[in-house]
Amino acid sequence: MTLSLPTLYAVLAMGIATYLTRIAGLWVLRHVTLTPRVRAGLDAVPVAVLTAVITPMVFMTGPAEALAGLATALAAFRLPILAVVAVGVVSVVGLRALIG
Protein backbone atom coordinates (compact mmCIF):
# COMPACT_ATOMS: atom_id res chain seq x y z
CA MET A 1 0.00 0.00 0.00
CA THR A 2 1.98 2.99 -1.22
CA LEU A 3 0.95 6.60 -1.57
CA SER A 4 3.25 8.96 -3.43
CA LEU A 5 3.06 12.69 -2.72
CA PRO A 6 2.65 13.80 -6.36
CA THR A 7 -0.23 11.33 -6.71
CA LEU A 8 -1.84 12.69 -3.55
CA TYR A 9 -1.58 16.27 -4.86
CA ALA A 10 -2.98 15.26 -8.26
CA VAL A 11 -5.91 13.41 -6.69
CA LEU A 12 -6.61 16.38 -4.40
CA ALA A 13 -6.54 18.76 -7.39
CA MET A 14 -8.97 16.51 -9.26
CA GLY A 15 -11.22 16.23 -6.22
CA ILE A 16 -11.35 19.96 -5.53
CA ALA A 17 -11.98 20.77 -9.21
CA THR A 18 -14.77 18.21 -9.36
CA TYR A 19 -16.45 19.37 -6.15
CA LEU A 20 -16.39 22.98 -7.41
CA THR A 21 -18.27 21.90 -10.56
CA ARG A 22 -20.79 20.09 -8.36
CA ILE A 23 -21.66 23.05 -6.15
CA ALA A 24 -21.39 25.75 -8.84
CA GLY A 25 -25.00 25.06 -9.84
CA LEU A 26 -26.19 26.48 -6.49
CA TRP A 27 -24.41 29.73 -7.28
CA VAL A 28 -25.77 29.85 -10.83
CA LEU A 29 -29.30 29.39 -9.54
CA ARG A 30 -28.91 32.24 -7.05
CA HIS A 31 -27.95 34.66 -9.83
CA VAL A 32 -30.42 33.59 -12.52
CA THR A 33 -34.12 34.48 -12.47
CA LEU A 34 -36.37 31.47 -13.05
CA THR A 35 -38.51 32.65 -15.96
CA PRO A 36 -40.62 29.97 -17.72
CA ARG A 37 -38.00 29.82 -20.47
CA VAL A 38 -35.12 29.30 -18.01
CA ARG A 39 -37.16 26.67 -16.22
CA ALA A 40 -37.86 24.90 -19.52
CA GLY A 41 -34.15 25.00 -20.34
CA LEU A 42 -33.25 23.50 -16.97
CA ASP A 43 -35.91 20.81 -17.47
CA ALA A 44 -34.09 19.85 -20.67
CA VAL A 45 -30.72 19.43 -18.89
CA PRO A 46 -30.96 15.68 -18.13
CA VAL A 47 -31.76 14.60 -21.68
CA ALA A 48 -29.43 17.18 -23.26
CA VAL A 49 -26.38 16.29 -21.16
CA LEU A 50 -26.87 12.51 -21.19
CA THR A 51 -27.27 12.57 -24.99
CA ALA A 52 -24.10 14.62 -25.46
CA VAL A 53 -22.11 12.25 -23.23
CA ILE A 54 -23.00 9.13 -25.26
CA THR A 55 -22.87 10.72 -28.73
CA PRO A 56 -19.26 9.70 -29.59
CA MET A 57 -19.89 6.08 -28.56
CA VAL A 58 -23.30 5.68 -30.23
CA PHE A 59 -23.09 7.83 -33.34
CA MET A 60 -19.37 8.10 -34.10
CA THR A 61 -17.81 4.70 -33.38
CA GLY A 62 -19.37 2.42 -35.99
CA PRO A 63 -22.52 0.64 -37.18
CA ALA A 64 -22.30 -1.99 -34.42
CA GLU A 65 -22.45 0.63 -31.65
CA ALA A 66 -25.18 2.62 -33.42
CA LEU A 67 -27.39 -0.45 -33.88
CA ALA A 68 -26.72 -1.61 -30.32
CA GLY A 69 -27.73 1.86 -29.14
CA LEU A 70 -31.00 1.56 -31.07
CA ALA A 71 -31.68 -1.90 -29.59
CA THR A 72 -30.91 -0.56 -26.11
CA ALA A 73 -33.29 2.39 -26.58
CA LEU A 74 -36.12 0.09 -27.75
CA ALA A 75 -35.51 -2.21 -24.78
CA ALA A 76 -35.55 0.77 -22.41
CA PHE A 77 -39.18 1.52 -23.28
CA ARG A 78 -40.23 -1.87 -21.85
CA LEU A 79 -37.59 -3.40 -19.56
CA PRO A 80 -36.06 -2.56 -16.14
CA ILE A 81 -32.62 -0.95 -16.15
CA LEU A 82 -30.54 -4.07 -15.47
CA ALA A 83 -32.20 -5.90 -18.38
CA VAL A 84 -31.62 -2.85 -20.57
CA VAL A 85 -27.89 -2.93 -19.78
CA ALA A 86 -27.83 -6.66 -20.57
CA VAL A 87 -29.47 -6.02 -23.95
CA GLY A 88 -26.94 -3.26 -24.67
CA VAL A 89 -23.87 -5.28 -23.74
CA VAL A 90 -24.99 -8.51 -25.46
CA SER A 91 -26.05 -6.69 -28.63
CA VAL A 92 -22.84 -4.67 -28.87
CA VAL A 93 -20.68 -7.80 -28.47
CA GLY A 94 -22.77 -9.69 -31.04
CA LEU A 95 -22.86 -6.86 -33.55
CA ARG A 96 -19.14 -6.17 -33.22
CA ALA A 97 -18.46 -9.83 -33.97
CA LEU A 98 -20.83 -9.77 -36.95
CA ILE A 99 -20.15 -6.40 -38.61
CA GLY A 100 -17.13 -4.99 -36.74
Binding site: L3, G41, T51, A76, V89
Partner: protein, 234 residues
Protein backbone atom coordinates in the same frame (compact mmCIF):
# COMPACT_ATOMS: atom_id res chain seq x y z
CA UNK B 1 -47.86 12.30 6.63
CA UNK B 2 -44.15 12.74 5.99
CA UNK B 3 -42.05 9.69 5.32
CA UNK B 4 -39.27 9.11 7.81
CA UNK B 5 -35.65 9.82 6.89
CA UNK B 6 -34.79 6.13 7.19
CA UNK B 7 -37.55 4.94 4.86
CA UNK B 8 -36.57 7.55 2.31
CA UNK B 9 -32.92 6.48 2.60
CA UNK B 10 -33.91 2.83 2.09
CA UNK B 11 -35.96 3.81 -0.96
CA UNK B 12 -32.92 5.57 -2.42
CA UNK B 13 -30.72 2.52 -1.78
CA UNK B 14 -33.24 0.22 -3.48
CA UNK B 15 -33.43 2.53 -6.50
CA UNK B 16 -29.67 2.76 -7.06
CA UNK B 17 -28.84 -0.93 -6.40
CA UNK B 18 -29.53 -2.20 -9.96
CA UNK B 19 -27.41 0.65 -11.30
CA UNK B 20 -24.61 -0.21 -8.87
CA UNK B 21 -24.72 -3.82 -10.08
CA UNK B 22 -24.60 -2.67 -13.70
CA UNK B 23 -21.61 -0.42 -12.99
CA UNK B 24 -19.62 -3.23 -11.32
CA UNK B 25 -17.64 -4.40 -14.39
CA UNK B 26 -16.85 -0.81 -15.26
CA UNK B 27 -15.52 -0.11 -11.75
CA UNK B 28 -13.41 -3.28 -11.72
CA UNK B 29 -11.91 -2.40 -15.09
CA UNK B 30 -11.14 1.12 -13.94
CA UNK B 31 -9.22 -0.28 -10.97
CA UNK B 32 -7.34 -2.72 -13.17
CA UNK B 33 -6.37 -0.03 -15.69
CA UNK B 34 -5.20 2.26 -12.90
CA UNK B 35 -3.09 -0.56 -11.46
CA UNK B 36 -1.52 -1.13 -14.88
CA UNK B 37 -0.55 2.56 -14.87
CA UNK B 38 1.27 2.05 -11.57
CA UNK B 39 -1.30 3.34 -9.08
CA UNK B 40 -1.50 1.40 -5.82
CA UNK B 41 -4.87 0.11 -4.53
CA UNK B 42 -4.69 2.80 -1.82
CA UNK B 43 -4.22 5.52 -4.44
CA UNK B 44 -7.09 4.13 -6.51
CA UNK B 45 -9.37 4.14 -3.45
CA UNK B 46 -8.33 7.67 -2.59
CA UNK B 47 -9.10 8.88 -6.10
CA UNK B 48 -12.49 7.14 -6.14
CA UNK B 49 -13.34 8.63 -2.74
CA UNK B 50 -12.16 12.18 -3.42
CA UNK B 51 -13.17 12.54 -7.07
CA UNK B 52 -16.08 10.07 -7.45
CA UNK B 53 -16.60 10.83 -11.14
CA UNK B 54 -16.12 7.80 -13.42
CA UNK B 55 -15.54 9.50 -16.76
CA UNK B 56 -12.94 11.95 -15.46
CA UNK B 57 -11.18 9.18 -13.51
CA UNK B 58 -10.87 7.08 -16.69
CA UNK B 59 -9.43 10.00 -18.62
CA UNK B 60 -7.03 10.81 -15.76
CA UNK B 61 -5.70 7.25 -15.73
CA UNK B 62 -5.42 7.36 -19.51
CA UNK B 63 -3.09 10.40 -19.39
CA UNK B 64 -1.40 9.45 -16.07
CA UNK B 65 2.38 9.88 -15.74
CA UNK B 66 4.89 9.50 -12.91
CA UNK B 67 5.26 11.80 -11.11
CA UNK B 68 1.63 12.84 -11.53
CA UNK B 69 1.16 16.28 -13.20
CA UNK B 70 -1.36 17.74 -10.75
CA UNK B 71 -2.15 20.88 -12.73
CA UNK B 72 -2.97 19.03 -15.96
CA UNK B 73 -4.97 16.38 -14.12
CA UNK B 74 -6.90 18.97 -12.10
CA UNK B 75 -7.71 21.03 -15.17
CA UNK B 76 -8.76 17.95 -17.15
CA UNK B 77 -11.11 16.90 -14.34
CA UNK B 78 -12.53 20.43 -14.30
CA UNK B 79 -13.33 20.43 -18.03
CA UNK B 80 -14.75 16.91 -18.12
CA UNK B 81 -16.93 17.65 -15.10
CA UNK B 82 -18.18 21.08 -16.23
CA UNK B 83 -21.46 19.35 -17.09
CA UNK B 84 -22.02 19.14 -13.31
CA UNK B 85 -22.72 22.89 -13.30
CA UNK B 86 -25.77 22.39 -15.52
CA UNK B 87 -26.81 19.28 -13.60
CA UNK B 88 -26.38 21.01 -10.23
CA UNK B 89 -28.40 24.06 -11.27
CA UNK B 90 -31.19 21.78 -12.43
CA UNK B 91 -31.35 19.52 -9.36
CA UNK B 92 -30.83 22.38 -6.88
CA UNK B 93 -34.31 23.64 -7.81
CA UNK B 94 -35.72 20.48 -6.24
CA UNK B 95 -33.73 20.77 -3.00
CA UNK B 96 -36.29 22.87 -1.14
CA UNK B 97 -36.43 20.26 1.63
CA UNK B 98 -32.63 20.39 2.10
CA UNK B 99 -30.85 22.61 4.63
CA UNK B 100 -27.82 24.64 3.48
CA UNK B 101 -25.25 22.17 4.88
CA UNK B 102 -27.29 19.26 3.54
CA UNK B 103 -27.10 20.74 0.03
CA UNK B 104 -23.33 21.03 0.11
CA UNK B 105 -22.96 17.48 1.46
CA UNK B 106 -25.50 16.02 -0.99
CA UNK B 107 -23.92 17.69 -4.01
CA UNK B 108 -20.62 15.96 -3.18
CA UNK B 109 -22.38 12.82 -4.49
CA UNK B 110 -23.61 14.42 -7.72
CA UNK B 111 -22.48 11.66 -10.09
CA UNK B 112 -24.35 11.21 -13.38
CA UNK B 113 -26.46 8.22 -12.34
CA UNK B 114 -27.34 9.65 -8.93
CA UNK B 115 -28.29 12.96 -10.42
CA UNK B 116 -30.43 11.38 -13.15
CA UNK B 117 -32.30 9.18 -10.65
CA UNK B 118 -32.80 12.19 -8.35
CA UNK B 119 -34.23 14.16 -11.30
CA UNK B 120 -36.56 11.28 -12.10
CA UNK B 121 -37.74 11.21 -8.50
CA UNK B 122 -38.20 15.00 -8.49
CA UNK B 123 -40.37 14.80 -11.63
CA UNK B 124 -42.76 12.39 -9.85
CA UNK B 125 -42.62 13.38 -6.15
CA UNK B 126 -40.71 15.54 -3.67
CA UNK B 127 -36.96 14.98 -3.51
CA UNK B 128 -35.82 14.39 0.09
CA UNK B 129 -32.31 14.48 1.60
CA UNK B 130 -32.75 10.89 2.82
CA UNK B 131 -33.54 9.63 -0.67
CA UNK B 132 -30.66 11.56 -2.22
CA UNK B 133 -28.15 10.25 0.32
CA UNK B 134 -29.55 6.72 -0.11
CA UNK B 135 -28.65 6.98 -3.79
CA UNK B 136 -25.34 8.73 -3.12
CA UNK B 137 -23.82 6.79 -0.25
CA UNK B 138 -24.64 3.41 -1.81
CA UNK B 139 -22.99 4.14 -5.13
CA UNK B 140 -20.13 5.97 -3.39
CA UNK B 141 -19.18 3.03 -1.14
CA UNK B 142 -19.73 0.59 -4.01
CA UNK B 143 -17.55 2.63 -6.35
CA UNK B 144 -14.67 2.80 -3.85
CA UNK B 145 -14.91 -0.89 -2.94
CA UNK B 146 -15.16 -2.11 -6.52
CA UNK B 147 -12.43 0.10 -7.99
CA UNK B 148 -10.04 -0.98 -5.21
CA UNK B 149 -10.99 -4.61 -5.89
CA UNK B 150 -10.18 -4.03 -9.55
CA UNK B 151 -6.80 -2.59 -8.63
CA UNK B 152 -6.08 -5.62 -6.41
CA UNK B 153 -7.16 -8.03 -9.16
CA UNK B 154 -4.89 -6.14 -11.56
CA UNK B 155 -4.83 -6.96 -15.21
CA UNK B 156 -6.51 -10.38 -14.83
CA UNK B 157 -9.76 -8.79 -16.04
CA UNK B 158 -8.52 -8.21 -19.56
CA UNK B 159 -9.75 -5.99 -22.35
CA UNK B 160 -13.05 -4.20 -21.56
CA UNK B 161 -14.17 -4.21 -25.21
CA UNK B 162 -14.04 -7.99 -25.42
CA UNK B 163 -17.05 -8.34 -23.14
CA UNK B 164 -18.82 -5.15 -24.17
CA UNK B 165 -18.22 -3.58 -20.74
CA UNK B 166 -17.24 -0.32 -22.42
CA UNK B 167 -20.92 -0.10 -23.45
CA UNK B 168 -22.32 -0.36 -19.91
CA UNK B 169 -22.41 3.38 -19.22
CA UNK B 170 -23.88 4.09 -22.64
CA UNK B 171 -26.68 1.58 -21.99
CA UNK B 172 -27.42 3.06 -18.55
CA UNK B 173 -27.58 6.57 -19.99
CA UNK B 174 -29.86 5.46 -22.84
CA UNK B 175 -32.21 3.88 -20.29
CA UNK B 176 -32.21 7.12 -18.27
CA UNK B 177 -32.90 9.26 -21.37
CA UNK B 178 -35.86 7.04 -22.25
CA UNK B 179 -37.08 7.46 -18.67
CA UNK B 180 -37.35 11.21 -19.34
CA UNK B 181 -39.16 10.73 -22.65
CA UNK B 182 -42.06 13.17 -23.21
CA UNK B 183 -42.81 12.80 -26.92
CA UNK B 184 -41.41 14.65 -29.92
CA UNK B 185 -40.06 17.60 -27.91
CA UNK B 186 -37.68 15.23 -26.14
CA UNK B 187 -36.72 13.92 -29.57
CA UNK B 188 -35.84 17.45 -30.66
CA UNK B 189 -33.62 17.92 -27.60
CA UNK B 190 -31.85 14.61 -28.32
CA UNK B 191 -31.35 15.54 -31.99
CA UNK B 192 -29.94 19.00 -31.22
CA UNK B 193 -27.66 17.74 -28.48
CA UNK B 194 -26.35 14.79 -30.53
CA UNK B 195 -25.75 16.89 -33.67
CA UNK B 196 -23.82 19.64 -31.89
CA UNK B 197 -21.93 17.16 -29.70
CA UNK B 198 -20.88 15.14 -32.78
CA UNK B 199 -19.74 18.25 -34.67
CA UNK B 200 -17.80 19.56 -31.65
CA UNK B 201 -16.23 16.15 -31.05
CA UNK B 202 -14.98 16.17 -34.67
CA UNK B 203 -13.59 19.71 -34.53
CA UNK B 204 -12.39 20.28 -30.96
CA UNK B 205 -10.18 17.87 -28.99
CA UNK B 206 -11.09 17.16 -25.36
CA UNK B 207 -14.43 16.88 -23.58
CA UNK B 208 -15.93 20.15 -24.87
CA UNK B 209 -18.48 18.22 -26.92
CA UNK B 210 -20.38 17.43 -23.70
CA UNK B 211 -20.75 21.10 -22.85
CA UNK B 212 -21.58 22.19 -26.42
CA UNK B 213 -24.12 19.41 -26.99
CA UNK B 214 -25.65 19.97 -23.57
CA UNK B 215 -26.09 23.69 -24.20
CA UNK B 216 -27.63 23.04 -27.62
CA UNK B 217 -30.14 20.65 -26.06
CA UNK B 218 -30.95 23.11 -23.29
CA UNK B 219 -31.50 25.91 -25.83
CA UNK B 220 -33.82 23.64 -27.82
CA UNK B 221 -35.72 22.75 -24.66
CA UNK B 222 -36.07 26.41 -23.74
CA UNK B 223 -37.28 27.31 -27.25
CA UNK B 224 -39.84 24.49 -27.44
CA UNK B 225 -41.01 24.07 -23.91
CA UNK B 226 -41.59 27.69 -22.94
CA UNK B 227 -44.73 27.34 -25.11
CA UNK B 228 -45.80 24.38 -22.97
CA UNK B 229 -45.36 26.27 -19.75
CA UNK B 230 -47.36 29.20 -21.12
CA UNK B 231 -50.12 26.85 -22.30
CA UNK B 232 -50.35 25.36 -18.82
CA UNK B 233 -50.44 28.81 -17.23
CA UNK B 234 -53.22 30.02 -19.56
Amino acid sequence: MRDSWASEFTRGVATILPVAVAVTPFALIFGALAAQKGLSPLEVGLMSGLVFAGASQFVAVDIWQHPAPWLVLGFTALTINLRHVMMGASIARHMGRFGAASRYVSLYFLADEIWALAERRASAATLTPGYFLGLGVTLYLGWIGLTVSGALAGSALGDPERFGFDFVFTAIFIALIVGFWRGYRTGAIVAASAAVAALTHLLVPGPWYILAGGLAGIATGAAFMAEDVEEQAA
